[in-house]
């Protein structure tokens, strides 16, 4: 019986010691840590507005090819393609990619033309967190089309120390 009475005390003592140590560590670590800047959805919206302006943003025509589950956010393969005949009269002018939770909303912006032949581009990107990736295509007639993809990241990029 006495053993049973001792146990909670021992754990409570250990808990108190651990809590104190942790509080101390946090207190020391906080002033040193760089406050990670983060693109909130508002700043992403602002970045999108900068590209799109007042034009309406339509859904569709753009295809985002990105793995839904990423182990390492430091190099995420990303392919953006867009349905378009890519002729002199009807082509994709530009493709912009935005992130929701990276420190900066912009990921990449590419300029295409009728000589591209195919409106598709691949690259490798960094993702700081599980988030939504948005791609916007600007057509030669001035319309904007967008699509989004949800990505889950296990190991985040950029924000961890060396």
């Amino acid at each position: 019986m006495t053993r049973d009475d001792d146990m909670p005390q021992a754990t409570r003592r250990r808990f108190l010691i651990e809590a104190a140590t942790l509080a101390g560590a946090v207190g020391i670590a906080l002033p040193l840590a760089v406050k990670p800047a983060s693109a909130t959805p508002e700043s992403m919206r602002a970045a999108i507005r900068k590209v799109v302006g007042e034009a309406p943003l339509n859904k569709g025509r753009v295809k985002i090819d990105v793995p839904p589950l990423i182990e390492n956010g430091n190099a995420v393969p990303l392919t953006i393609s867009c349905e378009s005949p890519m002729t002199a009269g009807d082509y994709v002018k530009a493709i912009h990619v935005f992130s929701e939770k990276n420190p900066q909303p912009n990921i990449v912006g590419v300029q295409l033309g009728p000589r591209s032949g195919r409106a598709a581009v691949s690259t490798r990107i960094r993702l700081a967190d599980s988030q939504k990736v948005i791609a916007i295509a600007q057509m030669s007639d001035g319309s904007f089309w967008s699509n989004e993809a949800e990505v889950i990241v296990t190991l985040a990029a950029c924000l961890e120390g060396v």
Partner: protein, 106 residues
């Protein structure tokens, strides 16, 4: 000079859509990463990439810190005439790199 790799077909039929792959060695320091003293490491990235086909611009990309180290880009173009594909990267701290490959169109 940074090492760049270009993968483009040496020969193509007129009117074919060819795939061009480019890779350049660059660590793309984001400017958000803290070093061991807790200060952020200054940003050092490639900001622009341009591809020209016989001097005419066919592809341009604006890169941001969210591009992974050793920027890799794949894009397409229509093989119109024999000539040179030239590639140009520019970035922070006066970084520039150029590379070119020849293509024969028949």
């Amino acid at each position: 000079m940074a090492r760049a790799l270009i993968n483009a077909p040496a020969k193509a039929k007129r009117g074919d859509i060819i795939e061009i792959k480019t890779l350049i060695s660059h660590n793309m320091e984001t400017g958000f990463r803290p070093d061991n003293t807790g200060k952020a490491v200054p940003r050092d990235i490639i900001t622009d990439f341009i591809c020209k086909y016989n001097g005419q611009e066919i592809f341009r990309a604006e890169l941001f810190p969210a591009i992974a180290a050793n920027p890799f880009l794949t894009f397409y173009t229509v093989a119109t005439e024999s000539g040179t594909l030239s590639f140009e990267w520019t970035g922070d701290n006066g970084f520039t790199a150029t590379e070119s490959v020849d293509i024969t169109v028949e």
